[in-house]
């Protein structure tokens, strides 16, 4: 299994630690971005963005069910934006434990990060990335 390079997800070697996203925090203005970038997009300082662990949980900003999928993905599938408590609002897919049905997700609900295959397709089954699932559901986290 390979981690999707650009996804910015980190799998700690200590099994007691849960996965997180590697974001960047500007030491000048405090802005947090994901993925990390060298220049702060807010204050435009160069070299002030430092590593920060983010994204273990979030709140659902918006969601929809896509009925058609690009190559390497299977429809129907949820596509969502999640507000992370640290600041960023990020695009994500939803973990496989969550059934793809209307009414399952509600904007504003608490979400938690899981790490799993990008998609159950020949192209993407061996690529790991971050996804989110409703925090309230006690589904088994699908760490590989």
């Amino acid at each position: 299994m390979n981690l999707l390079h650009s996804s910015g997800v980190v799998m700690p070697t200590d099994p007691k630690q849960t996965p997180y996203l590697l974001g960047g925090k500007c030491s000048n203005c405090g802005t947090v971005v994901f993925p990390k970038m060298p220049v702060c997009p807010k204050c435009r300082r160069n070299g002030t963005v430092e590593d920060i662990e983010i994204g273990r949980k979030g709140r659902l900003f918006s969601h929809t069910i896509a009925r058609f999928a690009p190559k390497g993905f299977k429809a129907p599938f949820f596509q969502i934006f999640v507000d992370l408590p640290e600041g960023p609002r990020i695009f994500s897919l939803v973990g496989a434990e969550c059934p793809v049905e209307d009414g399952v997700l509600e904007d504003g609900m608490e979400m938690r990060l899981v790490v799993e295959s990008l998609a159950d397709t020949p192209e993407n089954k061996d690529t790991l990335t971050y996804k989110y699932v409703p925090a309230a559901k006690s589904g088994k986290p699908r760490h590989a």
Binding site: L4, S6, S7, T31, V33, P35, P41, K42, F61, S62, H63, T64, I65, A66, R67, F68, A69, P70, K71, G72, F73, F77, Q79, I80, F81, D83, G87, P88, R89, F91, S92, L93, D102, D107, L118, A119, T129
Partner: protein
């Protein structure tokens, strides 16, 4: 800066043209524009050629502009290849305008050409996704989804915020499908009803099939020259470029209080042209998903927040209304061959301003018009490109 006029436009019809290459599509548009302008290939000092997907879809990764122009007899000049996603053609026009405005060239041509039918729809959709930042596209983000839930427009959220309904979303599609039914260049020429649009299959909630632009082949071109030289070439009404604005998107954080980028680029275009929204007589705007037109009404300063559907209900933006929007049929009916769209918009406006638009001619020939073109998606929660051009006759 010198004043610049568009003296000729040309277009290839939009739709599926299986046997035609980029060169063939471009040829029709280029020679349409040359003849319309009364110029020969030798008169062209410089060319900008917009194309977005030709590398991935046709395999012609480099020098597409030179390839297309050579096929049409235009050689031995500076040729600038322009890739700027769905706003490639607006970007090409800006380049041509700037060459002439600055005095570097007297006559320039802007071309937009796209070949999307390659016998494998999944490949085309994949190529289309790739004009957004890779971090998004490789996670499965699609343009359809972005219109539905992306923070920059979030149509699904607007249903809650504004009380817009599925029927409201269908209104621009219905209006534009009627316009497209009158346009011989249009890809889809069937006038649709609200029921047909709402009941067509769901692509991504809340967008249905007839609310989404389909894939398309097509091309368009415009010849521009110094305004004071226009009469040397043609007796037709020269159409002056009053402003030609291009902006990249902003990196936006969730509580970003700055104005939306479509709004900012429109305001800049109004200011540069010295006019306001009330002066416009027609608009061609970027309705890749038809309901986006409702949001663009407010962002272009035509109405207040949430008031978009009213402009269609009261007839304002219909073909016979005070300010017709997308008289060509827009992206969903006229067609959206992505790298050609910005110049297809310009061609339509030029025909309307000259009174040459046939059955879809706006009764009161517009004297001031706007083309609004945008494209690509960035991680920073904005589109990548915003282009606004204002024309005056």
């Amino acid at each position: 800066m010198r004043e610049v006029a568009i003296i000729g436009v040309g277009a290839h019809p939009t739709g599926q043209f299986t046997d035609k290459s980029l060169k063939d599509l471009g040829y029709t548009a280029i020679w349409g524009a040359l003849k319309d302008a009364g110029v020969t290939p030798e008169d062209i000092d410089v060319a900008y050629v917009g194309n977005s997907l030709g590398g991935l879809l046709t395999g012609q990764e480099g020098v597409r502009g030179q390839v297309v122009l050579q096929h049409s007899g235009i050689t031995g000049i500076p040729v600038i290849n322009v890739e700027n996603a769905c706003a490639s053609a607006a970007t090409a026009l800006r380049g041509a305008w700037l060459e002439v405005a600055s005095g570097a060239a007297d006559v320039a041509i802007a071309v937009g050409v796209e070949k999307m039918y390659v016998g494998d729809t999944a490949r085309t959709i994949g190529a289309l996704s790739s004009v957004s930042e890779l971090d998004l596209s490789q996670m499965g983000m699609q343009f359809t989804t972005s219109y539905a839930i992306h923070p920059k427009i979030n149509l699904k959220g607007k249903m809650k915020e504004y009380g817009w309904t599925s029927a409201d979303f269908a209104k621009p599609a219905v209006k534009n499908s009627y316009n497209g039914s009158l346009n011989p260049l249009a890809q889809h020429r069937r006038a649709l009803t609200i029921e047909q649009v709402v009941q067509s299959r769901i692509v991504v909630d809340p967008l249905t099939l007839y609310m989404c632009a389909s894939i398309s082949d097509g091309a368009a071109a415009a010849v521009v020259c110094a305004a004071d030289m226009a009469s040397k070439f043609t007796s037709k009404t020269p159409i002056r470029i009053a402003s030609c604005v291009l902006r990249s998107g902003e990196y936006r954080l969730p509580n970003d209080k700055r104005l939306d980028s479509a709004t900012v680029s429109a305001q800049a275009a109004y200011e540069e042209a010295g006019i306001g929204p009330e002066d416009l007589g027609a608009i061609e705007l970027h309705d890749a998903m038809a309901p986006a037109e409702l949001m663009l009404y407010e962002r272009l300063g035509l109405c207040g927040p949430g008031e978009g559907p009213k402009l269609i209900d009261d007839g304002t933006t219909t073909l016979r209304g005070r300010l017709p929007v997308n008289p060509s049929g827009g992206l969903c009916s006229r067609g959206h061959p992505v790298g050609a769209t910005g110049l297809l918009q310009i061609a339509e406006l030029v025909w309307q301003m000259r009174g040459e638009a046939g059955p879809r001619q706006i009764e009161k020939r517009p004297k001031v018009t706007m083309a609004q073109n945008q494209g690509g998606l960035l991680l920073g929660q904005d589109s990548a490109v915003y282009g606004v051009t204002i024309l005056k006759s």
